[in-house]
């Protein structure tokens, strides 16, 4: 059952899907806006995820950041400060003590920035977040070009040569420069620090970010030495699009998040009762 919770001196609100019955697990899950999409998420995936997690015993909050959905048009605070205020409200009014924070695309970027200085966050939910291009991206791109039919090769070669001859300004979406990401080495150091702090990380990547991720081995260079850490769970779904348009793909993503969240066990007395 969703309930309305007000925050920010009454300027904002969120929808809190309450854990079913007495089966409440420790962290409250807070889903941040996927880009400009309001709190229901692309194709309503946040609603589906929140209600599935509530059935598993989690409280889950969905809300709108400033300038998104029903969010404040003239915010006095940064998005980071707004989220911290929301966590404070959940702590004071809903008894939350620890949090899983994250969401799709830019939600992952914001959650990543916040978790660096937010000890109450014990889990990080990343979806099409930062990935280091590195050499494996170039290898995968070359392999993809070579896999094209022979008839396309002359055109391809012409375009590549053209790019080498003339330094054209970049066109189209360049995720690496458009999104607020740390340098790869900084990201790896931050990953290590978070895992050492005990933060659980679930990172899912799709074929929708093929502009910067084309090969599963890129995840090794992205997360560095900590790649085998049991607190870090990685998935790469090259078949999926960024918004999870097909309903079956969305359901698999939701299943993955729900399974990951089961890391947080029920309180012992409820386990015994169950």
């Amino acid at each position: 059952m969703d309930e309305v919770i007000a925050f920010g001196d009454g300027r904002g609100f969120g929808l809190l899907s309450r854990a079913h019955g007495a089966r409440r697990r420790a962290p409250t899950v807070v889903l941040l806006n996927a880009g400009l999409t309001h709190r229901i998420g692309p194709f309503r995936i946040y609603v589906r995820l929140a209600r599935r997690l509530a059935a598993e015993g989690f409280d889950v909050l969905r809300f709108d950041l400033p300038r998104v959905g029903d969010g404040d048009a003239r915010p006095a605070e940064s998005a980071e400060a707004v989220v911290t205020g929301v966590l404070d409200t959940l702590q004071q009014r809903a008894g939350a003590r620890e949090f899983v924070l994250g969401g799709i695309c830019s939600a992952s970027d914001l959650a990543w920035r916040i978790v660096q200085n937010e000890p109450r966050v014990s889990g990080l939910l990343l979806y099409d977040a930062f990935a280091d291009r590195g050499p494996w991206f170039r290898i995968a791109r070359l392999r993809r070009a070579l896999a094209r039919p022979l008839a396309q090769w002359p055109g391809l070669a012409w375009r590549v040569l053209g790019r080498l001859r003339v330094q054209k300004p970049a066109t189209g979406f360049d995720a690496q420069s458009a999104r607020d990401w740390p340098e790869p080495a900084v990201f790896r150091a931050q990953t290590a620090a978070l895992l050492d702090r005990g933060v659980q990380i679930l990172a899912m990547y799709t074929g929708g970010v093929s502009k910067y991720l084309l090969h599963p081995r890129q995840l090794g260079t992205t997360f560095g030495m900590k790649r085998p850490d049991p607190r870090l769970e990685l998935h790469y779904w090259p078949d999926y699009d960024h918004l999870l348009l097909p309903p079956d793909d969305r359901e698999r993503m939701v299943d993955t998040v729900v399974a990951w969240c089961r890391k947080w066990s029920l309180p012992a007395e409820l386990e015994r009762a169950a």
Binding site: F13, F43, P246, D249
Partner: protein, 264 residues
Amino acid sequence: MSLHPVHFGPPTRRLFGLHHPARGHARANLLMCLPLLHEHVRSYRFFSQLADRFADAGIACLRFDYFGTGDSDGDDDAFTPQSALADIAEAAAELRRRDAAAPLVLLGIRASALLAARAAGDVDAAALWCWQPEHDGRAYIERIAARYREELASRDRFPSRKTLPSAQAGDLMGFRLAPAFAEEFAACRLDDAPGNVPLAVIGDDAALRLAPPHATRHLLPPTATFWADQIDLRGLIALRDAESAVQSLLHELPEPSLRMQAYG
């Protein structure tokens, strides 16, 4: 907060809405029936801002999500045209519960205009405003089904997928709807609007040309209509581009005194 989130309807079928109280005395109650499927998310902030704009002009607004859509209860496959008509009646009652005297205006947006046209008589609307309306349910279903197939076959969207996905029966624009949805919706037409309810059509040249003869017409520039049919949310719709249409709508608000006789 200038908007109030509210759950309403029976406990087994709760709907979620946002009420924007009128600034000062309410000249009208405006019930916003939001766009469907992918267009719901695409236009969400614009219609939130539009509701604020109307509230500032003395019109109380309720935006709500049909059962099985948005923040309302229910899974996607619970959303059908028949249930949506019941939801419009529920939302109209919620608005009147707050202010029974102000006349009720139904604002049907895009494909929701077809639902609002059907509901207008049953909820005794004083006026029906149709924003960038679809005109024919069958043509709408056929168009978005083709659009969905095209999107599933898009190499831009699925650059690495070896076997492209296919739609299951009932799937439309990424939503797994009840298989009966398409058939039910195909029967809806803008012509279903009762002839005795004043009708306004707001949209581009093409929409205004298709408007029924008795409708008043309010032109939107391309910068306010471009978003229709878009799936990806890459930019916002500027409210200022709709201001001229908003001003002309405000001039044709129904008279409160007429409705007070019925609901006062």
